[in-house]
Amino acid sequence: MLRLENISSFIHTSLSNHLSETSVLLLEMTIIALAAITLFALLGLILVLMERKVSAWIQIRLGPNRVGPKGIFQTAADTLKLVLKEGFVPDGADKFLYKLAPFVVMIIAMILLAPIAFAKNFAIWDLNIGVFFITAISSVSVIGILMAGWASNNQYSLLGAMRSGAQIISYEISAGMAILSIVVLTGSLQISDIVASQSNGWWLFKGHIPALIAFVIYIIAVTAETNRAPFDMAEAESELTGGFHTEYAGMRFALFFLAEYINIFIVCAIGATLFLGGWMPFHIGNWEAFNHIMDYIPSSIWFLSKTFFLIFVIMWFRWTFPRLRIDQLLQLEWKYLLPISLFNLLLITLIAIKGWHF
Amino acid sequence: MGTEELIQSIQSMFPDASINMGNNFPELVIEKDSLLSVLNQLKSEPTLAFDYLFCETCVDWKSHLTMVYHLDSTRFRHNLVIKTNLDAQAPEIESACHLYRTAELHEREIFDLFGVKFLNHPHLRRILLTDDWKGHPLRKDYDDPINMIKL
């Protein structure tokens, strides 16, 4: 059985046999960087295609199906075209910040890939404050958006960036609360610990209704945090034409575009890790035979299928709901989500202290 | 109120003006200086209550321009057309936009296409054509050899 952890340990042992420790570390870091970049590009391509197919099927049409078999090369063609397009800096823009912004957004998205456990014993960096790391770093991406909006010298961009700032900072709180509730249940910030604590059942099921509420709040909050419809205030195509990336073209726009999808992947991966057991297979009580079959499916498949399910849910939101207005968006956060998640955290803490969870 | 009665009551209100029945609506021809007072009376008189200006336009008769106001009453559902003649060289008339807000855009359009100057209009500017456009295209003497290809 080909498992990802075997591959990584094979690479590590074979390198260690021939090279010194420092050079192994350097080589491995290079490999990881390359792998991360490849994953970044590959995930972007897949997710964009998935989005287009999902939207097409919801909208009773076929979606891309002519470029390559079943249209699978569609996003590859798009990316290639975007890379080859003329890239220019608009007149009056702050050249340095304008060029820097997409890289800030992209690099942050890539850094966030680090603590995610893609499979059993397979994470780039399983640091002991993994969840905290993610919440901390993901809020930095708003700086990239603000930078882009400011540097573009365009009112639409500026409005979009300001909206995005207000929105991401507000929704960080609820997302943090939702994450915190699982941390309270687990008692650890390390991703591998959180996953391990779900070996006898996912937190979504083990944590009673409060965990379910936390999950719903988490999904809503991260939809807002990644600027997805119905919370796509930063882009708001029908209001602000393109929002913060109105003035971006070609390659730089592609980076924003890809980073958006990578961010969705990351938040959904975290959601899957926290609430749906990460790479843990689905087990039902004492059904040994069933559990064995479930165990046979590689852990990476479990992780990815859970993540992609959550991504699908977020896409489903996008293609169903109208967009909120900016003040309603903040109202939703401060009047509904925040009080509920605070109260919910209290409940969860009670459950954790009393040990009421399964 | 029937059309006959309407004509009579309006005639009694404005004995100087001439009113007769047109193809569709009764037509009241007035002097341009009395426009605002006539509109005001028609709007405020409770038995008439012409509160809805549904069309305002202008016709170029070469010798003069005619402003045409189509009025409707949303309460009684009777209509009236008011006409007043303007001088072709320097057409000027009081703006009706303080009585009927809809007149604001209509008058800008008439200014644009006919060159009628509306006094006391809040912002009388060209609306459909560019600001540097020469002439008023719906005038009969308008000619544009560059843009207009005659069939």
Partner: protein
Amino acid sequence: MFEQVSTSENGELVINVGPQHPATHGVLHLLITLNGETVTKLEPNLGYIHRSIEKMCESLSYRQFIYTTSRMDYLSSHINNHACALTVESALQIEIPERAEYIRVIMSELTRMASHQLWWGAMAMDLGALSPFFYAFRERESINDIMEETCGARLTMNYFVPGGVMYDLHPNFVAKVKEFIVFFKSKIDEYDELLTGNIIFQNRMKNIGIISKEDAISYGCTGPTARGSGVSCDIRKIYPYSIYQKLDFDEVIEHGCDSFSRYQVRMKEMRQSLKIIEQLIDNIPKGEFQAKTKAVLKLPKGEFYTRVETARGELGVYIVSEGGTSPYRIKFRSPGFSNLSALEHMVKGHKIGDLVAIMGTLDLVIPDIDR
């Protein structure tokens, strides 16, 4: 994006919405002043699609000028053509065969439904919901198919001619319309399910873009825009033309004065249109579809005015004739032009997102405004 104007004197942001902007449904240009996200001033700038139709019609004959009006309010092209044909017919006192009248009314109501469907989809798109657009177009396509079979085109049909209609109905027409009625009745409930009841949608619509009854009349609003404010202004009811007198339908009036009322009016109007078609479709009388008219039409000297109810409101056709073969002056009183003038009144004090929503509920068709 047209040109960048930075800030006004007191530090408010001035931005140009349009002429190329997805929310303006065409080439309307709005100069808006923003205080934060709140619109403090709005100034429409028209004419980006002013095609001088009125001047052009002065050199076209009374048979020819009708086709240009299809391009004015292209979403209710049949109704525009109807207005022109009615003007010419009433001036020449042409008696139209009853069959033609029935066909005209059915076509007009189908057009009204198609227009409202497109409005529904486009408005949902303005609000950020993209799927309704596709569902709306599915129904619209079936109307287009019916139109294409009988009238020979999908959008700008030029089917109504002075004296009747251009061709007789296609043999499949009645069956297809009946099929459509059944189909659409099931789908219109989906519209409500998807959007009307949606909490986000309701919050975006209720108490937004308020215009009182008095203001609506003063601004000359017509159609669903005015009827959402409680003004009775359906020309089909108050000045009936064609065979609307004989039909049983309600004038939809809502008293909420806000965006949601305007939305409701249009949704209910679609059902009323269905009702009208249901009454007519089985009773289309046999006979001629076109009255005999002279080859060259000459209107008598005088002035003629016709008012009809398009999907957007009251369309007036004002023809001044000098007795020739073409009009001396023609004026189209377009519903959108007056409705647009009320936009500033509605939008002031609302957010920029509401501006988009309110424009959606006004259902502006820019070529209709600019002519």
